[in-house]
Amino acid sequence: MTTRPSDSRWLDGLNLVLLVLAGVIVMTPTAWMVLSSFKPSYEVTAYPPTLVFQPTLENYATLNSQTPFLRYTMNSLIVTVGSTLFGLLLGAPAAFVASWTRITWPAVVTLMARMAPGTLFLLPWYVMFRQVDMIGSYTALILTHAVITLPVVIWVLLPYFDNIPRSIYEAAQVDGCSPFRIFRRIALPLVSSGLAVSAILAFVFSWNFFLFALVLSNSQTKTLIAASFNFIGEGSTNWGGLMAAATIIALPPLILAAVVQRWLISGLTLGAVKG
């Protein structure tokens, strides 16, 4: 039997405490949101907040009866899936070429666009789409959300492509592959786990993207997150409805985040080369 030094056990204990603390800090707003969505409206803003209450689906029923919730959900799905696919379609080849040529400055430019505050683009973006009469269209929303999804896809996939041994590409060249075939037949299958991770992250970021959806959508194309803003009124705010909407909006990203963990473990390139 082996014994561990007391220092190590002490550090393990400290780690556990810090993890629990971080978990509590991160999860408190989410827990608050979920709990509030099941509270009667008079209890949502009660002070001190109640932890024990009679749960009700009243807020969800209101949400369904008073708003075209299903349409907003469909709008969100169309924009999010569309922009994610658009990001993958352009981002995957872009990341491959950046890795292949080792020219990464275009990828840096996309990252800068991602890092810059959204309001910077909001006005020119709005003017541009208004001039071509596309305000409120799905196309405008999908293209706008691609500002988010494209850098995510490129920057998630770049290290995956970089990790493929160069000799595998060279073997494919010698075997008679054109660069496009190398991308399609060799590189893409080898970064499949990266594709999944980037697709899920792009989906989540696009799903949660509020500002552009608020400005560029109309009543027919409004996404869930932009529509949730409707619950905030000038005189009063329906906190219960807002919490129910927020809970439903948060569900897909939460589910996908759980799925991502499976894909993060990437072992596909094992056995490709020596070792």
Partner: protein
């Protein structure tokens, strides 16, 4: 099957010239080994042949076709990489048939060729496995199989044995040599291991700093090295070198004043002057005291098949390979001489071998 001709070939990386001006002709069906220390340009040359690196000057012909600007995909060459470079997401069968598929062959056409190559290499049981489920030796065979099925004009091998353990390396070495006889295809093999070069090559190309030092059969390169570099690179342990000067019909060592008769030399010696005496370890022989060069044993390494003796001789460290029956001990004084006709003389300035016949150097 094709010859390869390189004329005034130049390869640069930015401002660095890796291959300044290389001329070499590899005959059809020949097994050529490019050998040299790390950074000598041998792998670069192989990659140039493969089309993975652009040529900066000169001409490269495969057969009669100039391929300077022909991409790797259209050169009809096959390459076995140092790290095997198998496609990890494909089975062995798919790995082997991939190049054929890229050339537009149907599964019905590729299947028998894959089966034949797999049988030849004894990897038939693993055809439906992925590379990660194979051992290093099996992966190495799959890499060769992938090259064989294509029936290419030229095979290129980039240090394919360096990741195998010593036992497997010897086995695969023999297999590649046997395979080259069966396939009768032009093969270019890169290695830094002079044992691989000696055992496998029809001709060896010894390289240094992007330049060919010597081209010849293993025997020629071993027995008649053109310069000190080749003499020291080929052979393990490497040739011993002792500064000396010619005095009449004898050779006097620079340090110690001991002499050897010039009659022991492989080639005719000049009338006088400073030289570098080169003797391979196995060409030393122990003689009775007074009949050779006096040496003191530092270290004895019994190898079983023979024994290596490390000695101090005329202020230099030398290694002699002797019969295992001789059991010298450290500290013992012995007398060494060279087997007649086996010692070489080199010019200490130009480092070239003295008295070599025309055509031995490139």
């Amino acid at each position: 099957m094709a010859s390869i001709t390189m004329r005034n070939l130049v390869k640069k990386y930015g401002g660095v010239t890796v291959i300044p001006d290389l001329n070499l002709r590899i005959e059809d069906e020949e097994f050529i080994v490019l050998v040299g220390p790390s950074g000598c340009g041998k792998s670069t040359l192989l990659r140039v042949l493969a089309g993975l690196e652009a040529i900066d000057g000169g001409e490269l012909l495969i057969g009669d076709t100039r391929v300077n600007d022909v991409p790797a995909a259209r050169r009809d060459i096959a390459m076995v990489f140092q790290d095997y470079a198998l496609y990890p997401h494909m089975t062995v069968r798919q790995n082997m048939s991939f190049a054929l598929e890229m050339r537009g062959m149907t599964p019905a056409e590729t299947a028998p060729r894959v089966e034949d190559a797999a049988r030849l290499l004894d990897i038939h049981p693993y055809l439906d496995r992925r590379p990660k489920a194979l051992s290093g030796g099996q992966r190495q065979r799959v890499a060769m199989g992938r090259a064989i099925v294509r029936d290419p004009k030229v095979f290129l091998f980039d240090e394919p044995l360096s990741n195998l353990d010593a036992k497997l390396r010897g086995q695969v070495r023999a297999e590649i040599k046997t395979l080259s006889r069966k396939l009768k295809t032009t093969m270019v093999f890169v290695t830094h291991d002079q044992v691989e070069a000696m055992t496998m090559a029809d001709r060896i190309v010894v390289m240094k700093s992007g330049q060919i030092q010597q081209v010849g059969t293993p025997e020629e390169v071993y027995d008649n090295p053109v310069n000190v570099f080749v003499a020291s690179f080929i052979g393990a342990p490497s040739m011993n070198f002792l500064p000396a000067r010619i005095e009449g019909d004898r050779l006097a060592l620079a340090d110690g004043g001991e002499t050897l008769p010039l009659a022991l030399m492989a080639e005719a010696a000049p009338a006088a002057g400073e030289v570098l005496l080169g003797i391979r370890p196995e060409h030393f022989q122990i003689v009775p005291e007074g009949q050779g060069l006096s040496a003191v044993i530092d270290l004895v390494e019994p190898l079983g098949s023979d024994t290596l003796i490390h000695c101090a001789l005329a202020g230099q460290r030398v290694i002699a390979r002797v019969s295992p029956d001789i059991r010298p001990v450290a500290g013992q004084r012995i007398s060494l001489t060279s087997i007649a006709g086996k010692a070489h003389l080199f010019d200490p300035d130009s480092q070239t071998r003295i008295g070599q016949t025309e055509g031995q150097a490139t």
